[in-house]
Subunit: 260 residues, 2 copies
């Protein structure tokens, strides 16, 4: 994490549907002795809200299908005199998320492919920068839900496309358009973005639970879902897969994985 | 694993309610090019049976409340000319289970206390031998379900006591009496055995799921349950806790953790 300015030490507000960022910011604010306010969709999983509040942050909710998150966040930050900390469209946040690939490449030699869950693109951009710099031949594949394929469409169009995001269990990936900062990085470094269905995500969550004994939320299991569903060419290759986020309570997990 | 004799290579049968042992034996048999037959309680979780059969073993069921497992296993082994591989009362099995503490003590320096889930006593005996040899001052605490406290009672009595095991969610710890080989080791090395309720186990499973993102079955979460419930004196101490087994499907997990 970057050193905070005096203003940043005062308070922070973030606008992210991604519970990992909310919790990280809440904890960072507490460690720095300041307060965080988190703007969160009203339909975010209860466990995300509870965990974020548990770290001492205030949670303000909005309707993700009717309201403009970014405008709300800017207004809230302005009113309260807070610093906005975006969940992905920020160079320090991108760099921080890239440490996942940094650690993976340090632990595992000779990766041929890295498959990353793509929402706003912060994790994908950061991981692509880190992995490519350590291993220039690595192939980076992003994964989005079928109904939230803004990055896939944007890469095909050669510009940031804004889509109407459909409903999906992968709430952390319900992003209408790639980030301003993340998109050029994805254009430069990502070979391909593939999509997965909710059923494929649910099946991957079940495999992770039953065979790996790991709790991974839908958005965080989409990369593995793409591999298991045969969307990524992995034959004979050494493949890294991100598992990002476990913000799901046992009841919701069972309801989702039970459909697999 | 020990080198197998020619007879052992032919086939193996085990008698254990503990799904970890069943799966390990099934896989070991496959790797050795032989067949395993597993004697399993009819009410064992479906995931234990499915995983065991998935590794290629044949599963034979019995009624844990009405039938004598050990007699059945001996009869089955005799009929089929198989070698009996007990789930805990065997020096090699005890030594193998002790590698959990061996690895823990290699990874974490300066442990003051090691809290271990106790069923037949194989894991506890093996971990006690390994941990005590590496760290003579370590305190070993066993944990049993309240209704299956055969080891606690046996240590108090100074001899192996046989109890009527009650119903508990911790099916891997429903053992009526400590093992012949494990008990003297526990007498020599275990300072204390404490008990936990099903509600305390469920609460520990929920904590592991929500905060550690780990799937642990009831029997495997009992040691953490004892710590969280304040049954073990941990203040100011460096404490190791075994998490042993994740043989539980998402639906059963939710049903159990939902009561916490």
């Amino acid at each position: 994490m970057a050193t905070l300015t005096a203003a940043e030490r005062r308070a922070g507000v973030t606008a992210g549907s991604s519970g990992n960022h909310a919790q990280a910011l809440a904890l960072a604010a507490r460690l720095c002795g300041t307060r965080a306010t988190i703007l969160m969709p009203a339909d975010a999983p209860a466990s995300k809200r509870a965990a974020t509040e548990g770290y001492g942050a205030e949670v303000v909710t909005y309707d993700r299908y009717a309201e403009d998150r970014d405008a709300l966040a800017r207004a809230l930050a302005g009113e309260r005199g807070m610093v906005l900390v975006p969940p992905y469209d920020d160079p320090w946040v991108i760099a921080g998320q890239g440490t996942a690939a940094l650690e993976l490449c340090e632990d595992v030699e000779g990766l041929d492919v890295l498959v990353v869950c793509t929402g706003g693109g912060g994790l994908t951009a950061g991981c692509a920068v880190a992995a490519r710099s350590l291993r220039p031949s690595i192939r980076i594949v992003g994964v989005e839900p079928e109904v939230a394929d803004d990055t896939r469409r944007s890469l095909a169009a050669g510009r940031r496309v804004r889509i109407d995001v459909g409903r999906t269990i992968a709430d952390g990936q319900q992003v209408p358009t790639p980030g301003e900062l993340t998109f050029p990085i994805l254009q430069a470094l990502v070979e391909e973005v593939v999509t997965v269905t909710d059923a494929e995500i649910a099946a991957a969550m079940r495999v992770l639970f039953e065979r790996c004994k790991l709790v991974v939320e839908p958005s965080g299991a989409s990369a593995l879902a793409a591999v298991l569903a045969g969307r990524v060419d992995v034959a004979g290759r050494r493949v890294g897969v991100t598992l990002s986020g476990g913000n799901v309570d046992p009841e919701r997990f069972a309801a989702i994985a039970g459909t697999a």
